[in-house]
């Protein structure tokens, strides 16, 4: 199952196994923590990482945009991983990709990694701190806000699921009472595993689709 529709703060949201969230009534596609150019940053520090990760991520975004036909894409922070020289390949790739989707409005809620890089140059309008959109508040780092449901990234949430003698660590969507976390979109990002809180809705992403973890009231 590649899609899962859930109701959060009175709105129907669609979760996609490509680590994205679509708000169909507003036609907004959300992703978080794309970390474009991370491979290049690592290579420059002497770590052997093959190229092509950013390009692969852009192709995944292409598919999502083609599928949902959103009018707006909002990235919940950490669009880019760090500074690299202007002629690094991924910057050109992102620019070409941006032009391909000129009709889609693209916004970035600035995250901690984004302070090194001016995302306006990539054709994003940059929103500092947070953006309030009807019943949601969009942020990079999670927090709780009265009378508003927070959607955030930053954490790279993951869960560990026991499967017989094995444990699988999987990226996940997590929706608490006042705050929902999106998994990191970038392929070269890690996971941060936090124990599931009571009452929290967790949707894990397996290579074969989404599974919703049953709620446990412990």
């Amino acid at each position: 199952m590649n899609e899962l529709r859930i109701r959060i703060a009175g709105e129907m949201l669609t979760l996609h196994s490509q680590r994205a969230l679509f708000w169909s009534r507003k036609r907004i596609l959300f992703v978080a923590d794309t970390h474009f150019g991370k491979g290049a940053v690592l290579r420059r520090a002497g770590m052997a990482v093959p190229t092509g990760q950013t390009l692969a991520d852009l192709i995944r975004l292409d598919a999502l945009i083609a599928h949902y036909q959103p009018t707006r894409l909002i990235v919940l922070g950490d669009l880019v991983h760090g500074v690299t020289p202007a002629d690094t390949a991924w910057i050109g790739q992102v620019n070409v990709w941006r032009q391909r989707h000129a009709m889609v409005e693209m916004s970035l809620i600035a995250g901690n990694h984004d302070r090194h890089f001016n995302a306006c140059e990539l054709g994003f309008d940059v929103i500092e701190h947070q953006l309030k959109l009807e019943s949601f508040t969009l942020r990079h780092a999670p927090c709780s806000i009265a009378d508003s449901y927070v959607l955030a990234g930053h954490v790279h949430p993951g869960v560990a699921i026991k499967d017989g003698w094995r444990r699988h660590r999987l990226p996940a969507f997590r929706f608490g009472r006042g705050c929902g976390l999106l998994p990191a979109f970038g392929a070269l990002t890690g996971l941060h595993q936090v124990p599931v809180e009571p009452g929290e809705k967790v949707v894990a992403i397996t290579p074969d689709g989404l599974i919703e973890l049953p709620m446990r009231m412990d």
């Binding site: 690592l42 093959p50 003698w165 049953p214």
Partner: protein
């Protein structure tokens, strides 16, 4: 440059100075010590083997000291390599005493990961003649461009506790470091100190090449006693904690002035310490715990307590096997089987150091069958069947680290470096193609096919000279040298700052703030986790888990298991242990069979869990795990089903809802060595195992940069999980040398492939006893209670998801 002949008057005068100092200590140089001094003077290399506390240090340092009296010189003369940082201080003190006794103007310095900056500065100025250091710090010294200048005056290297290094990657790193030093100083003398091993010749050749083997007094008697269960007492058939014997151990400890209690795992040590503490009648500070995850400072305090005799009892793991020097204790107690003969010998040697006294060790079985292991260990020891420790071969990750060090330390040409690397035992058979693949990895990132722009670790100029240009690469490399020992662990610290040690990340990740756990003999409460550190505070009451450390359980050694098969088959074994075991073995014989030495027993039983197939090759848990997977896979060829498996040191169990019809002949075919390698690949998800193994490989080879506490923010940006890199590399660069290294380590180390193959050959040559007992037998019961370790079944994500959803729902519905 050999010293003037050992018969010369000058040499004898210098030696007399050393003998005079021995006399002031009321001792005489032992024959092996004098032999070592003489061999040094003759310019030879060698290995000195003797039990701990018999004067190996003085045997090794005597030669260089006499040499220094005869040929005084300034600048670094002697390198002393020790495996543990915490040992360095101790050794340096010990050596200083000897230097002063010889009235030499030598300055002794220590260079380890925790040396002060003043010490480092002195070292940079060349202000010392004797340097005590670790393999990693040596590698670091070799990574500076002025390396030739630093070691210009070096005459010799002594490697302490070589037996602790020989079998692991640190030993490989050291071999490479020594090859570099030999390249700089061809006449360098290299000596090793080692405990007794089964392969001393190989150990010597690996370290010193052509040399002499000098043995210390080996005639110390060892008495192995056993805490036998009382007659009529119900003793467990399975288990590994052994707390049932607490009263007996407490008595044995309080009987004497000082005692060491050895446990096999760190968590076992923590639990035994806690249990003893609960009934400890003396002052609480006279009881302590010591294991490898406890902070060096705390460990050192315990060692100091042992030295000064303020501690009455220390519960320890193999962390105290390492030559921590303290005058011996009165009694050594081993909880559970020692799993190896050499280890038992070494632990026993911790008691009764004084000449003429025998070493005594009290073995405490944790379950009944361990009685047989103890009896077997005694037999193996009497026959002097000790385990060998073989050096690792051709580790490409260590090679990658060394080649970068080599490039930083003055650069190299490929041909010349290849020759130098091949001069080590570890890489003697390294094909040029693999060497070039490692250079290509450092130069381009991987094989030439995959793209790695911006990656410039190693550069090569037009003359073929390899060097490192980037200051950042140099800095990161120096920071990551020495991460061979570090595992993915978190520091444990009090909120106020005092460090307690390290626990595995996987353990902490299961805890939430407020959860309690037992560590370093203390009840702690987790406050928060930040920057690779778990902050804790003292917990008010006692509850909570004990951290589990990976790789805690050693497999039963080949030597011990061979002897164990013989001992079990020996119907009239005279040992008290075997007599105590007699009723149990009688049950085994009555319900099933007891295998003879050339037989392998196979049992098939059913319980409420389903049908079980038990095979007892006695080949150690690692080999059994590989065999279980292969057997499960081969069974699935006969009848498709889900086969789960469990292993212990004696055998393996295959569990299924329904097993196909079997007999001795079918079992012979199922256990045939033919096609083993192919079936291992087919049965075990090698990729998944290699992915986990890749973590260490990537770290050693400098592919990932390990975070460490207090690092600055720019470094944190470089964190990436090795698992992700593994996937990316497999996808884009499947021929990458480090992928190959990870898979090889899984086969050789995790699954103990060589032993598995030998075991199958033995089974094929021997006789198969196939029995279908009506119920679980004394041999099968421990396997039945082991938790399932793995299994063979249809394994795509779709079916996994279905399976997980059902189990999750079942768990939630409970």
């Amino acid at each position: 440059m050999p010293t003037s002949s050992t018969t010369s008057a000058a040499w004898r005068r210098a030696e007399a100075r050393l003998r005079a100092w021995f006399a002031t200590l009321d001792r005489k140089p032992a024959a092996f010590q004098r032999a070592a001094w003489k061999a040094w003077a003759e310019g030879r290399n060698g290995l000195i083997h003797a039990p701990t506390g018999t004067g190996k240090t003085l045997a090794a340092v005597g030669g260089p000291l006499i040499d220094a009296v005869l040929n005084p010189a300034r600048g670094l003369q002697l390198l002393w390599i020790t495996p543990l940082r915490s040992l360095a201080t101790d050794t340096a003190q010990h050596l200083t005493t000897a230097v002063e006794a010889m009235e030499l103007p030598w300055r002794v310095l220590r260079r380890t990961g925790d040396s002060s900056s003043a010490e480092r500065a002195r070292l940079r100025r060349g202000d010392c003649e004797l340097l005590v250091t670790t393999p990693e710090s040596l590698a670091l010294l070799l990574s500076y461009p002025d390396v030739a200048e630093r070691f210009r005056h070096l005459r010799g290297v002594v490697v302490d506790e070589w037996h602790e290094l020989i079998g692991n990657k640190r030993g490989t790193l050291l071999q490479l470091g020594l090859s570099r030093l030999r390249g700089l100083k061809p006449e360098l003398r290299v000596w090793g100190l080692s405990a007794t091993l089964g392969n001393l010749d190989e150990a010597m050749q690996t370290l010193a090449g052509d040399g002499v083997l000098i043995g210390g007094s080996d005639n110390k008697k060892i008495q192995i006693q056993t805490a036998l269960p009382d007659a009529g007492e119900r003793f467990p058939w399975a288990g590994h904690l052994g707390l049932k014997q607490l009263a007996c151990v407490l008595r044995a400890v309080l009987d004497v002035r000082s005692a060491l209690v050895f446990a096999n795992t760190r968590s076992q040590a923590e639990l035994w310490h806690e249990a003893l503490a609960a009934v400890w009648p003396e002052a609480p500070e006279t009881l302590a715990v010591h294991h490898g995850s406890i902070d060096p400072k705390l460990r050192f305090a315990v060692e100091e307590g042992l030295r000064q005799g303020t501690l009455r009892c220390v519960v320890a793991t193999s962390s105290l096997d390492l030559g921590v020097d303290f005058s011996s204790v009165d009694r050594v107690i081993q909880i559970g089987s020692p799993k190896g003969v050499a280890r038992l010998l070494q632990r026993a040697g911790r008691s009764g150091h004084s000449p003429g006294l025998s070493s005594k060790i009290l073995c405490v079985p944790t379950h009944l069958l361990e009685l047989a292991e103890i009896a077997a260990a005694r037999r193996a020891l009497a026959a002097h069947h000790l385990e060998p420790r073989h050096p690792l071969r051709g580790c490409l990750d260590v090679l990658a680290q060394h080649m970068l060090t080599r490039a930083l330390g003055g650069g190299f040409h490929a041909d010349q470096a290849y020759t130098e690397v091949r001069s080590t035992r570890a890489y003697a058979q390294l094909p040029r193609a693999q060497f070039d693949a490692v250079l290509a990895y450092l130069q381009h990132g991987g094989t030439a096919l995959a793209g790695y722009p911006e990656y410039h670790k190693l550069q090569c100029d037009l003359d073929g000279h390899f060097y490192v240009e980037s200051k950042r690469v140099a800095r990161l490399h120096r920071l990551s040298i020495g991460t061979i020992t570090a595992d993915g662990s978190l520091q444990v610290r009090y909120m106020k700052g005092a460090r307690l040690g390290a626990v595995e990340e996987s353990f902490v990740s299961r805890l939430r703030p407020g959860d309690r756990f037992l560590f370093a003999g203390k009840h702690l409460e987790l406050v928060r986790v930040r920057d690779m550190t778990a902050y804790v505070r003292q917990a008010s009451n006692r509850q909570g888990g004990v951290p589990r450390w990976m790789g805690g359980r050693m497999p039963l050694s080949n030597e011990l298991s061979t002897e164990l098969r013989r001992t079990l088959a020996d119907a009239d074994a005279p040992e008290a242990e075997m007599r105590a075991l007699h009723p149990l073995l009688a049950i085994q014989r009555a319900q099933s069979r007891l295998p003879d030495v050339d037989e392998v027993l196979i049992e098939r039983t059913h319980t409420r869990d389903g049908e079980h197939l038990f095979v007892y090759p006695f080949a150690g848990r690692l080999a059994h795990e590989g065999l279980a997977a292969v057997l499960g896979y081969r069974l699935a060829q006969i009848a498709k089903a889900d086969y789960g498996y469990a292993v212990n040191d004696y055998g393996l169990a295959i569990t299924a809802r329904k097993l196909p019809a079997l007999d001795a002949e079918t079992m012979r075919q199922l256990l045939h060595p033919w096609g083993l390698r192919r079936d291992i690949r087919a049965s075990i998800n090698l990729t998944e195992l290699a992915r986990r193994q890749f973590r260490e490989v990537a770290r050693v080879a400098g592919l990932v940069f390990n975070g460490y506490p207090g690092q600055d923010k720019t470094l944190r940006q470089l964190q990436v999980s090795s698992g992700l890199l593994f996937d990316v590399l497999r996808q884009h660069d499947p021929e990458h040398p480090l992928l190959w290294q990870a898979e090889r380590e899984v086969l050789d180390q995790q699954l103990d492939y060589p032993r598995l193959r030998d075991c199958l050959i033995r089974i094929a040559r021997g006789k198969i006893l196939y029995v279908e007992p009506p119920r679980l037998t004394p041999l099968s019961f421990p396997l039945w209670v082991e938790r399932l370790r793995g299994g063979v079944h249809a394994d795509d994500w779709k079916s996994r998801v279905e399976r997980m959803t059902t189990t999750l729902e079942a768990a939630a519905g409970r």
